[in-house]
Symmetry: C2
Subunit: 131 residues, 2 copies
DNA sequence: ATTATTGTATTAGTTAAGTAGTACAATAAT
DNA sequence: ATTATTGTACTACTTAACTAATACAATAAT
């Protein structure tokens, strides 16, 4: 299958599953209107408890990415990609607000912060190029 | 006294105490070379267990902000302000790296991110002005 | 020397999050 | 109708973080 998790990653397994399923939808492995693998199949594949997968599926349904039917399975909604897109912008605003709060508390001004982002962005670019 | 905590703040009490003590040092309420209040006094003042204050004091000592002596008390070190200053820069880099990782995962490019920070910074400014 | 005051160590209780075990309920397939 | 397959609900176990209760050890004060 196409899902991978790392139990020692620090991030909860169910969150990793959420990200994996979303990613699979975005790159077309799981298609709109079609079902994703059953909870049990994914649980077996990932060697985790079905409830852990169910938690991820439940959350995805809450977000509107999939719609589940007992006995049938969980289907990718038409609006899945829109939802995920919008969700991303919301998340971006959220992390940005949180970030601004942090650096303000540390005494940084707007321009200093912009510089900080630029500098560290470049640093990460370089590190990646060296791989 | 000069310390305040909010037990329902979400943030652990001992962390709030750490921030409060640091702040008190920065604005001169607790002076370099002089002792901060005893663990028991602070515990009584804040209505928390002495161990909770002790945890904060232990952490501050680990950071080099204060130096404790059994039977005497905990004294603000000469280098306390330098340490806190440097600590702030490190923290800023850390939160920035984490922030960049987040927005990159959300598909944001460098310039988009800069714009995001600018826009939200201004937004927060406006909100504060309206108070 | 004795006593009070300081920080320290050890242990335990509390809460929340995450994960798993097991049984249940609804739908599909035959 | 019966059976298999699907998601669901409920319960319990584990772990980690936080806080507190209590007793201990070192220093200061007298």
């Amino acid at each position: 299958m196409y899902l991978q998790i790392d139990p020692r990653n620090g991030n909860p397994i169910y969150m990793q599953i959420i990200e994996q399923i979303k990613h699979a939808i975005q790159i077309g492995i799981f298609e709109v209107g079609k079902p994703i693998p059953t909870i049990r199949d994914m649980a077996i594949e990932l060697c985790v408890n079905p409830n852990t997968v169910a938690k991820a599926v439940r959350e995805l349904e809450r977000e509107g990415v999939i719609k589940t039917f007992v006995g049938k399975g969980a289907f990718v909604t038409d609006k899945a990609k829109n939802v995920m897109e919008q969700d991303n912008t919301e998340k971006a605003v959220k992390v940005t607000e949180s970030y601004i709060k942090d650096v303000k508390w540390l005494g940084y001004k707007k321009e200093q912060t912009i510089e900080l982002v630029k500098k560290n962005w470049n640093k990460l670019e370089k590190e990646n190029n060296h791989e």
